[in-house]
C-alpha cells in the first residue's frame, strides 16, 4: 500500500499537470472557433450528454493546417532553425566544456559559476539586451565601424542570423553542462594511453575523447533542440518578419487571431513532432545508465 502511494505521487503529478491539460488542448483543437467566451464551441453540457458533445468535434482544424502552407512552412523552418542552432551551440559549447574540464582543479567551480551566472537575470532581459548589441547603431556595429572592418552598419537585428545568435547564447549552458560532466568524469590517463599506443593528439581526441563524451553531446543536443523548436521569445524579439517559427505562429493564432482551436491544433502537432526526439533522448539516458552499472 505504501509502495503504491509512493509510486502514485509522480503519476498523479503527470496526470494533473500534463495529461489533463493536454486532453483539454486536444479537445479545443477539435472544436470550432466562435465569438464567445471561451472563444470556441462546443462546450460540454451535461444536459445534452456526452455523445452529442463528441459528435460536434471534428478534424477540420488539422485539415486547415495541411491546406494552408504557412503552417508546414513554419514547422519546417523551425525544424531547420532548431537543428542549425543545435549544431552551432555544439560547436561553441564543446570547446568551452573541454577547456573547463582541462582547467586547473581550483578554477573549475569558478568557471562553472560563470556558465550558470546568466541564469540569475531574467531571460527576457538578456534577449532584449541583444537588441542593443545587434542593432544598426548598436555596440557591435559601432565596434565594426570603429575598427574599419565594416564601412556601413551590418543589418543583423531582425534577421534569422540574430535568431541564431540569440538561441546559441541562451541555450549554451544546456550544451556545456552535460558535456562538461562527461569530460570531467574521464580519466586523463586514457589520453596518455592512447598516445602511448601510437595516437597523435588529434587522433586521441577523435578516438577516445569524443566517444567518451558522446553521452554528454547527445544530452546537450536534445536539451537545446527541444526548447529551440518551440522558441517564441527569441524570434519575436530578434527575428525579422521573414523569420518563420512555429512558436511565433502559435502566439499570433492565440492572441492576435483569437483562434484558439487552430492554435491548439498547431500545439498538438508541435508536441507530436517533439515526442520523437524526447523518446530518443529517454532511450539514450537509459542506455547511459545501463552502461554505467
Amino acid at each position: 500500500m505504501r509502495r503504491f502511494l509512493l509510486i502514485s505521487v509522480p503519476y498523479i503529478w503527470l496526470l494533473a499537470l500534463f495529461l489533463v491539460p493536454f486532453v483539454i488542448v486536444l479537445k479545443i483543437s477539435l472544436s470550432d472557433a466562435a465569438i464567445a467566451r471561451p472563444p470556441y464551441m462546443p462546450t460540454f453540457d451535461w444536459a445534452e450528454g456526452i455523445w452529442a458533445f463528441l459528435s460536434q468535434l471534428d478534424l477540420e482544424n488539422f485539415t486547415w493546417l495541411i491546406e494552408d502552407d504557412l503552417y508546414w512552412k513554419a514547422y519546417l523552418s523551425s525544424l531547420k532553425i532548431a537543428l542549425t542552432s543545435t549544431i552551432l551551440t555544439l560547436f561553441v559549447g564543446y570547446p568551452i566544456a573541454y577547456g573547463m574540464a582541462r582547467a586547473p582543479e581550483e578554477w573549475r567551480p569558478m568557471l562553472m559559476m560563470l556558465v550558470i551566472l546568466p541564469f540569475w537575470t531574467s531571460f527576457l532581459i538578456r534577449v532584449y539586451a541583444w537588441k542593443g548589441i545587434l542593432a544598426n547603431e548598436g555596440f557591435l556595429n559601432q565596434f565594426l565601424l570603429w575598427t574599419g572592418l565594416a564601412t556601413e552598419p551590418l543589418q543583423i537585428l531582425n534577421t534569422t542570423t540574430a535568431v541564431y545568435i540569440g538561441i546559441v547564447y541562451t541555450y549554451l549552458p544546456f550544451m556545456i553542462l552535460p558535456i562538461y560532466a562527461a569530460l570531467d568524469r574521464m580519466d586523463d590517463s586514457l589520453i596518455e594511453a592512447a598516445e602511448d599506443l601510437g595516437c597523435s593528439r588529434m587522433s586521441a581526441f577523435w578516438l577516445v575523447t569524443i566517444p567518451l563524451s558522446k553521452g554528454g553531446i547527445i544530452a546537450g543536443c536534445f536539451l537545446v533542440f527541444i526548447p529551440a523548436m518551440g522558441e517564441f521569445v527569441i524570434p519575436s524579439l530578434l527575428g525579422g518578419s521573414d523569420t518563420l517559427m512555429i512558436g511565433k505562429v502559435l502566439w499570433e493564432e492565440f492572441f492576435s487571431n483569437r483562434d484558439w482551436p487552430v492554435a491548439s491544433a498547431v500545439a498538438v502537432i508541435l508536441l507530436l513532432i517533439l515526442v520523437v526526439p524526447i523518446v530518443l533522448f529517454q532511450r539514450n539516458q537509459q542506455k547511459e545508465q545501463e552502461s554505467d552499472t
Binding site: S189, E192, A193, L197, G198, C199, L212
Partner: protein, 375 residues
C-alpha cells in the same frame, strides 16, 4: 650443462638498452629526480622501488615520453629519446589505473595500438588472438572493461601494452589494485610472460616483496636519488646504506663506534659498560668512527641458555611475540632498554612454543651475520 646466469650488468661488452645520464627533473622548486645515472639492459626485469613521492613514477613517465628531463639525457638503444614524442617510441606503458578504453571491447582495446600502426587486418586478428591466449582472456574478448573482474582488467592492460611488441614495457604499480592472493599469482604470471616474450620490463612499485619476487635487479630510490641498484639478494643481504637496509624487510640497527681488531674484523662499542659486538665487515672503518650494525631478525638465534660458541650474545626479556603462522618474531628487551628482534621458523606447533612473554632469553648471532654500515 648449467644454464648461463643472466647478468648483463656484470658484462662490460654488453650495451645497455636504456641509459639515464645525469638526468634531473624539476617541477618548479621541487626536484623530482636528482642527477640520476642508471643503465638498464635488454631482457631485464628492472624494478624501481621506493616510497611514494621518491620520483620513481616521474622516471617512468620520462621513459614513456610524458615528461621531458630538465637536464641530462636518456638513451634508448643508443638513441637520445628526448625529441621523440610518446606515440613514436618503441615503448609501451601499462598504467596504474589500467586506462582501458571503456567504450571499446577487450578485443578492440588490445587491437587499438595495432590499428594505429596500420597493420593489415588479418595480422591484427592473429596478433590479438595471440595476446588473448598469452593472457588467458580468450573467453572475454567481446566483453567491455566494466564487465570483467579487476584481475582480468589487469591482464587486458598487459595484453594491450604488449601487443605492439615494444622494446621496453613500463609497468606502473601494475598489481596495486589486486588483492594479495591474486597479486602473488600475477607476479609469477608476469615473470612467465616476460620470459616468453623476451621484452625488457621496467616496473614501478612501492611493494618491496613484489620488487624482490619479480625483478632481476632492483633500484631503491629515495628523494629523487637512486640509493642502490643490485639484485634482490644483494639488496637484502648487502645493503649499502642504513636507508636501504631499513627500507627492505625487517632489520635491527645498532649504532656504535667501530674499532678494528684484525683484518676485516671490528669491535662495535654500542653502549657503555656493555661488551662490544664482534663484526666482520668488507667496509673499512677508522677507529672511533660511527658505524651501524644492520642485522636481519632471522639471523638472530634465540635460546634459553647462553650458546657456547656464539661471537655475539646478549641477554634480555621477551617483550612481545608477533605470531605470523609460519614464523614468529620475538621482540626482546635488553637491560640497556634496546629492543632486538629475533625471528624463528615455527617448526613446532604453537602449543609447544619454548618461550613466552617475560621469559629471560639469550640472543646470539655470528660475526658475519650482520653488516656494518657507515650511514
Amino acid at each position: 650443462m648449467a644454464t648461463p646466469v643472466f647478468e648483463p650488468w656484470n658484462d662490460p661488452d654488453e650495451k645497455p638498452l636504456i641509459q639515464f645520464q645525469n638526468v634531473s627533473k624539476r617541477f618548479g622548486d621541487f626536484t623530482a629526480i636528482d642527477d640520476l645515472t642508471i643503465d638498464i639492459f635488454e631482457r631485464e626485469f628492472f624494478a624501481l622501488l621506493g616510497p611514494s613521492g621518491c620520483g620513481k613514477t616521474t622516471m617512468m613517465r620520462m621513459l614513456a615520453g610524458f615528461e621531458a628531463p630538465t637536464e641530462g639525457k636518456i638513451f634508448l638503444a643508443g638513441q637520445d629519446i628526448a625529441p621523440v614524442p610518446p606515440n613514436q617510441r618503441a615503448v609501451n606503458m601499462m598504467f596504474q589505473s589500467y586506462a582501458l578504453f571503456p567504450h571499446l571491447s577487450v578485443w578492440e582495446n588490445i587491437a587499438f595500438g595495432l590499428k594505429r600502426e596500420g597493420m593489415p587486418r588479418n595480422e591484427i586478428n592473429a596478433r590479438v588472438d595471440e595476446m588473448l591466449r598469452l593472457t588467458r582472456l580468450e573467453k572475454f574478448a567481446r566483453r567491455k572493461p566494466h564487465q570483467i573482474s579487476g584481475g582480468q582488467r589487469q591482464r587486458v592492460a598487459l595484453a594491450r601494452s604488449l601487443a605492439k611488441a615494444p622494446k621496453l614495457l613500463l609497468l606502473d604499480e601494475p598489481l596495486g589494485a589486486l588483492d594479495r592472493k591474486l597479486r602473488e599469482e600475477t607476479q609469477f604470471e608476469l615473470m612467465d610472460i616476460q620470459e616468453k616474450t623476451g621484452t625488457t620490463f621496467v616496473i614501478v612499485t612501492h611493494d618491496q616483496e613484489e620488487a624482490m619476487t619479480v625483478a632481476s635487479r632492483v633500484a631503491v630510490m629515495d628523494n629523487g636519488q637512486v640509493k642502490q641498484v643490485a639484485t634482490p639478494a644483494d639488496i637484502y643481504e648487502a645493503p649499502n646504506s642504513v636507508y636501504v637496509a631499513d627500507f627492505i624487510g625487517d632489520v635491527n640497527l645498532i649504532e656504535g663506534k667501530a674499532t678494528a681488531t684484525g683484518k676485516g674484523s671490528y669491535a662495535l662499542h654500542w653502549r657503555d659498560g656493555v661488551e662490544p659486538l664482534t663484526v666482520e665487515s668488507q667496509n673499512i672503518f677508522s677507529d672511533g668512527q660511527t658505524a651501524h650494525l644492520a642485522i636481519r631478525p632471522e639471523k638472530v638465534t634465540i635460546s634459553a641458555d647462553r650458546p657456547a660458541k656464539a661471537a655475539n650474545a646478549v641477554q634480555g626479556k621477551v617483550l612481545d611475540i608477533a605470531y605470523l603462522g609460519n614464523l614468529s618474531t620475538y621482540h626482546v628487551e635488553l637491560p640497556t632498554g634496546d629492543v632486538i628482534k629475533a625471528q624463528t621458523a615455527n617448526t613446532r606447533r604453537i602449543s609447544r612454543r619454548a618461550y613466552t612473554w617475560e621469559d629471560t632469553v639469550w640472543l646470539s648471532w655470528t660475526a658475519s651475520g650482520g653488516i656494518l654500515l657507515a650511514n
